[in-house]
């Protein structure tokens, strides 16, 4: 039976009856069809594939290597192509996207999202005084324009710690912009400069073309910690900014009630914030922000302190208000570390790199609202951002960024714990030594922000490598992940002393001292020249954590001194490895 079908198909192909051949093939096993197609000349493949039903095409296409998939997909029109990609099995799709070269991936993403723009991701790194955005937005006058804003902190010794590299940024009307970045990347600092809460160290922020300091911008902020006044009732909290505007009591109350009504808090006017749940508190935060009818609404991680369900709920309600134009706000600027949240809400996403912060990607998200997480193009965007964030050194998708000063940077330790690294490697081992980061994070039920430091640490220590969004274990990593707890220490020690500059420096400094002890302050001073105050503390904490785990040194917390660990361990490690 199968044999006869097979022959019948071959016969139909020889007759060049593509319609019938495609129809006949649909009764065969997809893998068999893939084999058959591969043996045909390319034009014939296209002829047949172009006539498959969407479902069947999706099942067949996964059996081809990525370049082949790519061309086959392009034998269909954009509508059909999108439908097929949607139907491909999620794992296959993810692998396909991962394997595609950037150029092709980018192109495909445009097509899938039905982009009107030829190149949705245009880096904004060129230091032009007037950054042009692609498409129609370039014509519209921006509400806020940041020109070469920079933030640095002056150290007592005159050293400058750069937190945010000179950055250009515009906020156009009718847009939601999401600013993404790992924690400590300066997202919040940038938000505070744009909103006028703090002023840039150099550069300028313009509000409708005038310097921000000389105008009074009508903005509001929704804070991560809600920042409500616990001693004021819900209504008084919402009224407070209106009172600051000099509004009369009656009008104030009316506006506040209206705002509370719009976020679904009617009836809670006389409650105190502490009587409310987290989600309701943030609703008050939104009501307070919306009551002043701000031109720009800033949101600083507004959903991070809420549980997943509440956050999802609040997000969709906000989008409803925004889409239905029930709020007079012209533009929303959202700071978040949650990639999905950014893709879900934003018209434009800006990804920040850190140390110092600079824009690594700035692109439009061309998916119509309301957006579905399960849609193919949604994953495309999410995956793309993962790639940008997981490869801090590479300029993903923008290989032609010119003239970046080759700066020798002090190696920065990711804030991860040895136990976490071991756990991640163990998991990776179980999954065959190679796994997509997206899946890893998903499996661990973690945000990428929480997982990344551990991933970075594993890479830094030579336990793993990253390749196109995949984490691949190295032989050293395999040994470490599989070792018993006591055997892990010497392996970690060896890796740390080979790869981690700071720990090398610490060890050699301690070696050189006759009493093998040094105050921690000494190393703090070394780090002070490279990092901000806060980061120095984090670096010290991580270095202490790793160094003590690796038994490179012990730490006397009372005297704040480091003491070289006696050398017994390293010899033991030598013999164990030999």
């Amino acid at each position: 039976m199968a044999m006869s079908d097979h022959n019948k198909v071959l016969e139909l192909i020889s007759q060049e009856n593509w319609e019938a051949a495609a129809h006949a093939m649909e009764r065969l096993d997809p893998s068999e069809v893939a084999d058959l197609l591969q043996k045909l000349p390319f034009e014939q493949q296209q002829n047949i594939f172009g006539r498959f039903q969407v479902d069947f095409a999706a099942r067949v296409v996964g059996h081809f290597p990525y370049y082949h998939q790519y061309v086959l997909l392009h034998s269909r029109g954009p509508e059909a192509m999108r439908a097929i990609v949607d139907k491909i099995d999620a794992d296959d799709r993810m692998r396909f996207f991962d394997e595609l070269p950037e150029e092709a991936w980018q192109h495909l993403m445009d097509e899938l999202s039905g982009a009107a723009l030829p190149h949705p991701q245009r880096p904004q790194v060129q230091p032009v005084s007037k950054p042009k955005l692609p498409g129609p937005s370039a014509v519209v006058e921006p509400i806020i324009e940041a020109r070469q804003v920079q933030k640095f902190y002056e150290q007592p010794d005159g050293n400058r710690i750069e937190v945010i590299a000179p950055t250009n940024l515009t906020l156009e009307p009718e847009t939601i912009i999401a600013l993404l970045g790992p924690s400590g990347s300066g997202k919040s600092t940038l938000l505070r400069m744009l909103s006028g809460l703090s002023s840039p160290s150099s550069g300028q922020v313009l509000w409708h073309g005038k310097p921000l300091a000389e105008t009074h911008p009508n903005v509001a902020i929704v804070f991560q910690s809600f920042a409500l006044f616990p001693w004021l009732t819900v209504c008084e909290n919402v009224e407070a900014p209106l009172a600051a505007l000099g509004m009369a009591k009656q009008e104030r109350e009316q506006r506040a009630t209206q705002a509370l009504d719009s976020v679904g808090l009617k009836g809670f006017e006389n409650a105190y914030p502490k009587e409310l749940s987290g989600g309701m508190k943030q609703r008050v935060g939104f009501a307070r922000a919306l009551a002043v009818e701000p031109e720009v609404l800033f949101m600083d991680e507004p959903f991070s302190a809420l549980d997943v369900l509440t956050a999802e709920n609040l997000r969709s309600e906000l989008m409803e208000l925004w889409m239905a134009k029930k709020i007079p706000t012209k533009s929303i600027f959202l700071v978040t570390h949650n990639i999905e949240e950014a893709v879900l809400l934003a018209d434009r996403v800006i990804v920040l790199g850190r140390n110092p912060a600079r824009i690594r990607a700035n692109f439009r998200v061309n998916i119509p609202q309301p957006r579905e997480r399960s849609a193919a193009e949604f994953t495309v965007y999410v995956d793309y951002i993962y790639k940008v964030m997981t490869q801090p050194q590479a300029d993903i998708a923008f290989p032609s960024v010119p003239g970046k000063p080759p700066k020798t940077k002090f190696q920065m330790l990711p804030h991860a714990r040895p136990g976490g690294i071991a756990g991640l490697l163990e998991l990776l081992n179980d999954r065959g030594g190679r796994e997509d980061l997206y899946h890893l994070a998903d499996e661990l039920r973690m945000e990428v922000d929480d997982l990344l430091p551990t991933v970075d640490a594993a890479v830094l220590l030579g336990f793993a490598t990253l390749e196109a969004g995949d984490m691949i274990i190295t032989p050293e990593g395999q040994a470490f992940g599989n070792a018993t707890i006591s055997a892990q220490k010497p392996l970690f020690r060896e890796a740390a002393l080979t790869h981690v500059t700071l720990l090398q420096q610490m060890k050699s400094a301690l070696d050189r001292k006759s009493d093998h002890a040094l105050p921690l302050e000494f190393f703090r001073d070394v780090l002070d020249e490279h990092f901000s105050q806060e980061e120095v503390e984090q670096q010290i904490e991580t270095a202490l954590n790793w160094g003590r785990y690796a038994e490179i040194f012990t730490y006397d917390s009372e005297d704040e001194r480091l003491i070289l660990h006696d050398n017994g361990l390293s010899e033991k490690a030598q013999t164990e490895r030999g």
């Binding site: 600051a244 502490k274 600083d300």
Partner: protein, 578 residues
Amino acid sequence: MPEQTNTRSGAPPWGIFPAGSSLLRDLPIVFAGLAVFYGIISFAHYGIGPMNTEAEIQLAPSALPKYALFSVIRIAAAYALSLAFTFVYGYIAAYNKRAEKLMIPLLDTLQSIPVLSFLPGVMVAMVSLFPTRQLGVELGSILLIFTGQVWNMTFSFYSSLKSIPREMREAAKIYHFSWFQRFIQMELPYASIGLIWNSMMSVAGGWFFLMACEMFVLGDRDLRLPGLGSYLQTAANEGNTRAILAGLATMILVIVLMDQLIWRPVIAWSQKFKVEQVEAVETPTSPILDLLRRSHLLSLASSWTTVPAREAFMQHFARMHKERRKAGKHSAVIWYLIGATCAGALAYGVVRMLRMVAGVSWPEWRAIFIGAGATFLRVEFVLLVAALWTVPVGIYIGLRPRLSAIAQPIAQIAASVPATALFPIILLLLIRLGGGLGIGALVLLLLGTQWYILFNVIAGASAIPTDLKEVCQIFKLSKGERWRKLFLPAVFPFLVTGFVTASGGAWNASIVAEYFHFHGETISTVGLGAVISDATNRGNFDMLLAATIVMALMVVTINRLVWRRLYALASTKYKLET
């Protein structure tokens, strides 16, 4: 709270006349108001009368109510002054970085100067300001009480301002709060709990030093002001035991009444300013507060006075704020001028002070240093004894919630009785038993300081988490081990806090403990406090200044070298994190 909503949305016209039952409820408030009014009138009448510094203090019990009233008014006036000073000083120190560097160490030093050392300067200034009126001496006495209670309040307010959460502060800024709105809606509520506790301590301190502040010798003038303090002092001088007891009873009655009528309601009311995420299960309550809250008269009065007044202020400052923003910031020149003037005055003061101190002869220096050594030993011994009994007792009580519910109020009343008032009786007993002021001073210091330690230890022990106690049970730790491994380390931070307060208090109290007028003669023992008191009495200002500087230096040095380090250790190593 139906009353609140009632007044909020405009009461119906017949609501102006309180219903019959509520008039009964309001009666106590009406009477209290009239009493306060009468008190102020009679005090004012006496204040503007001609100077009568050598007023005969009548020991008849019938004079006691008047004396008590005068003392209360003095303490209240000093407290109001302290509050005003606290707001201004704390505000400037918290918001002006340059001023902060000077103002905080200055506050630290001022705090370590004993009350009596301020006496000559304050008195001379005030009497020369109002040479013929009683007002001058009165103001001097009030200022003296002020110097005894202001510093810790200022510290508390300053540190509260510094610890307002960043996002809350940013909310006030982004919504353009005027300074008035910021003050009444954010800063004052945030600081209120700390300020109230410190106010209680300050007022207790006022009672402690009342005897020294109402009756003193200044050079050749013997100044005495009608009041409870001078009553007790006179009774002690004459050795009139019955009068001493009557005075003591009155004082305790006044203190207990103030606790019930003022502090309890205020504390219960201040619970709404607690910055907490969820509502506490148990909150302090006060029947007086309930009475006030239920009062129609009061809510009517406030809806006619404070509510519209606050509204008007808010509007006014909101307008001012807007105009200020338009006009831009005004020049810093004025501030530089003020700063320079202050710095100049300070420098001049230091030079004058050093020249004065240069006049102190060698034997006098010797006396000062011997006294300093003696007081140092005395204070440390007292702290040791206090710790020896309060730590075990405090832990025992703190671990038993039911016991501490009974013991806490009793201990609080015991602590609120100023040790100085008890002093005559103790001395009487001691002299009968053959002891002298040497032991008496120790007893007085102990009585004055042990409570701080006891309260803190109880608080610490009751804060030990249950799971830690259960761990001890599961592992069957012996009693000794439990104390060493859990109880003592857990109360350590609290113990240090108690020690810091007790140590400062003991140094200050040494001036009244080491030098006493009794039975028509002056008894004193070797000590720095005695040196200061004696120098004040004899009008030897050089000596007074030198001894004061030595005491301030010693207190500040001990704080820096010992307590601050222990505090740092306590807040890192021994902090129980939840």
